[in-house]
Symmetry: C2
Subunit: 373 residues, 2 copies
Amino acid sequence: MKIDGTPYRSIWVDETDSWSIRIIDQTKLPWALDLVRITDMDTMAHAIKAMLVRGAPLIGASAAYGVALAMRADASDANLANALAVLGETRPTAINLRWALARMQAALQPLRPNARAGAAYAEAAAICDEDVATNKSIGAHGLPLIAARGQNGRRVNILTHCNAGWIATVDWGTALAPIYMAHDSGLNVHVWVEETRPRNQGASLTAWELGKHGVPHTVITDNAGGHMMQRGDVDLVIVGTDRVTRAGDVANKIGTYLKALAARDNGVPFWVALPSTTIDWKISDGLTDIPIEERPASEVTTMTGRALDGSIATVRIVPTSSPAANPAFDVTPARLVSGLITERGLCDANEAALSEMFKDLSAKEASVAKELA
Amino acid sequence: MKIDGTPYRSIWVDETDSWSIRIIDQTKLPWALDLVRITDMDTMAHAIKAMLVRGAPLIGASAAYGVALAMRADASDANLANALAVLGETRPTAINLRWALARMQAALQPLRPNARAGAAYAEAAAICDEDVATNKSIGAHGLPLIAARGQNGRRVNILTHCNAGWIATVDWGTALAPIYMAHDSGLNVHVWVEETRPRNQGASLTAWELGKHGVPHTVITDNAGGHMMQRGDVDLVIVGTDRVTRAGDVANKIGTYLKALAARDNGVPFWVALPSTTIDWKISDGLTDIPIEERPASEVTTMTGRALDGSIATVRIVPTSSPAANPAFDVTPARLVSGLITERGLCDANEAALSEMFKDLSAKEASVAKELA
């Protein structure tokens, strides 16, 4: 997508030396666009750990390039093993991290050391290109949902929660892919961006990337989404997800469930965009089977932003003697989901529809389960 | 209620000179307990306007004492008229403000000027005492809802939104009155305090007053309330309200509707506490008939808190180029309300039950409507 008219991906090989990797330091958004140059594996591991890059697909791509940087410095078996171990420990829960590292290992291990660096860069580039293709496909399948409501220049109001945009992936995003495509095709799209407390990914990341690409949007509090639907100001909701069960239950950023309830109460379609790699075929009941990460209370009790003098400052917003709890995700039951937007097409959120559309993947999982039994 | 063991009201006549009025500057909470002394009407008008005092019942009481301060300085007809006019313009929408000023006018106008100051202090004190009695009664009627769930020391988890506590009234509060009463009677009460973006009345006021009185509580984001109900951690919801229609629709701080939906979805009782003065007998359909105040975008785009150096600082949390919208209230349809906790008892949220319990008030309204027709 574009930043002030210039096309970007969220990670790329540096154009001058063709070895270094460039990323956008997302901890500095929306206040600074810092295109960090990364030249060694340890720095990439730190960038993932410290969340300079975040979003499951982008974490996978970053780890792949981390392996490539390691191979460039020392392509021995020992250093490959070390890179896989160090990068694998950067984030504990991201499924895509493990998937990307396993793929890099499978591609590089059989090769002679002197062939590994080139192959690693090629494999990482393939991972990135495939992510872009997947997201473009999600966008193309979601586009008609918007276009159907935007005939004759009618404004289509879409509500989203958290950030499932291009900077959470290599490009296009998941929930935002259909929105970018609709905007780029000339549809009159407007996005209600929920701020997404406590980490404010909506206010700081989604608002930033939509604004830089030129997509009309308005930031609202998470509290306001239901009221916007009551007064008829939301045509559809599109969100991303961190994990979908084989029955179609959806784990996503805390607060998503409340919007699904409001959407149902007001007859507003509630869609979830995802690559099929997000489906966890092993589990069915999201409420009992998906562990919910409890994050530090400090994310609730403090807020970081830009002070009047331009400096970045953190303020405390809860009395020092009051404890806080911070569950990071909630589960939206499949019954509240209008449907899933995947790279293969739109899919009902239930076991029959999912296993029909992803026969190959669910069969693979079943055979793995059989082997383990 | 108590602040660190000492009983307080939110407004009182100064103990040393018996003329001045003392209030708690709520704009400084939770970081400083500033007991402001007010000695003239204009300063009181400013305190209401600048929200040093807020909450409909407390605004009414403050305005009443504002009239008393005016009468102390100059009890002429002209100055009485001036005080009523100036105080009446401090806040545009608070119903209690107009009610309290009308009551002061009715009490003082017929009197000789030299009898007015004493009568004004007496009438303002009566307004305060009646507010306390009303809220105590709300508390007593709500207490059994909590007690029924707290047998044998069982912890009762209550979720609340915004601040409907003692500092929004003269004492006890509305939604928090049953909670204070339950806590004081030895029940094992724990309150989930939703931060209540964008003005954070939950995180800054409700958490403060519960903490100072010693009521166990935990601050959560507004996004987390639904998840807490899904995992069985909420026994009941109690909120306040700014206006209730004769059909039982409830206008309250933005985000309340989302919690009512989640409560219904999880079988959690959803109660609304209010004095009968909050019922608007003139309207029935809350969604069409209650105007929703749109407040400044800056409440969404910035956040104020205490910086590391102890100073109070404001930070911007939304890109400067992104607009924001800020509807301040939403409407919870009566169908989602388990019941109303009033000073006369528990009441179903529908027209038949309300007009039965408040026959005198609804009849009075009907006769006024007839006169106007």
